[in-house]
Amino acid sequence: MTIDVETAVADAHRREWAFVLAATVRVAGDIDLAEECVQDAYARALAKWPMDGIPVNTGAWLTTVARRRALDVRRRDVRFDRLMPMLAEPDVPALPEGRNATIPDDRLRLIFTCCHPALSDEAQIALTLRLVCGLTTNEVSRALLVSESTMAARITRAKKKIAGAHIPYIVPSSEQLPERIDAVLSVVHLVFTAGHTAVSGNQLVRRDLVERALDLARMLRALLPENRGVAGLLALILLSDSRRDTRVDANGRLLLLSEQDRVKWDRAEIVEGVALVREALGSRPPERFAVMAAIAAVHAEAPSWDATDWDEIVGLYDLLTVVWPSPIVALNRAVAVGFARGPQAGLDAIDELSTDPTLASYSYLSSSRAEFLRRLGRYAESALAFEEALAFCENTVERDFLMARLLETATLSEGS
């Protein structure tokens, strides 16, 4: 029984946290107070559910308790209303009664507040993980690889800005939506990429972050079903994640796309992702995440590395360069050119980018050059480029891979 309750509370934390907090912020008028009340509601669930039973609608139960608590605090502290009036609705909606009472879904308001462009990028990600995903400050700090005190200060500062500058707790108007949704998608994508290839450390993938990103993308999809950018991002995450079991071998060694066992790719995720890509590409011009997802879909649908349609991929990168110009996109395009038209063409395309200051310390530029040089039989130059890549790479799994390649090319270079 107790185990059931603990599981139910943990499950409600994972699934309902954003819903409960978002609905409580509206009544509390202040994020800090709302957080306290929601934490309190979860603590009460642990105490009450063993006696009263697990409610059918756990989210509604938690929301009712948290909102009632917020109202109590506000009634007791009349001065609070004068100090913190900005996030509150002019009139507090009545508490829902009974099991089937509907509570307005405020999660979009919460997400748009956390991803407001007037907050720094770091603050947006931290707030999203803390408030929308319900991670503790300690968990957020570990996820984003900063100290807990730095993260606590960052979150406090961001909340002060929301209150002090009166960042509204609303869903943006339809004319502001495209710009604002892009900020939200960027945050979710950053959470995903931080998990998909951990910047440093001895694990390639941070599964916890990948799952949070997937949860967030699914939540956005449910809340904004018509939005093609959302469809594109969810597709991109699903298609990239479908390869999760094949990216390293049994010994933790990095496996390239060409070496991965495609039978082990997650078919269900691929099917769902590909269907979303079709839908996402419907807008003209397409959203950047839709194009990125389309590239991932070409890989996902290729039966083998050799059967990959590289011309299609180069064409999609050309399109991506138009809708989302960036040095990283240009580099990926150059690599695709190498696979479509041969290593010399790839090398030429990469060398055109080598003067870009953004890419100067990017290990993937050096490692891609090194790969094409290796394939051209220019082993000494290749070894040098692998050495350069190692100098800029901090992920242990990736470093091991680069080191193996360096040894291989250095040996070949001596032999030739």
């Binding site: 004068r82 462009p117 007037a118 720094s120 002060k160 002090g164 500058a165 009166h166 509204p168 609303i170």
Partner: protein
Amino acid sequence: MSEYLILIYGDESKLSNPSPELMGKMMKGHEDFAKNHGASLRGGNALQPTGTATSLRETAPGEFVVTDGAFAETKEALAGYYLIEAANLDEAIAIAKGIPSPNGGLEVRPIRVFD
């Protein structure tokens, strides 16, 4: 007669959590100032700290980059100001975008309200 804008600068690390003594001294000082120079005063406000500021730079006609924090000036100097009333930061930013700011930018900083 001419009009002048007097700008007040301060070390935020010392002003963010002032001791009651410092706070009292400052309030008294401003009250005295207002009494002594009431005839010359056209208005004045305390600003919220730079942590609440939002900056805008126009990168292409009608396209703004919105960033957290005070306007980081390199060679730009303070060139003018508007005092506006808006429902929230979104509305304030939307209004600010109508202000011409070639070769520079804008900082939207909330006014401090004392209770």
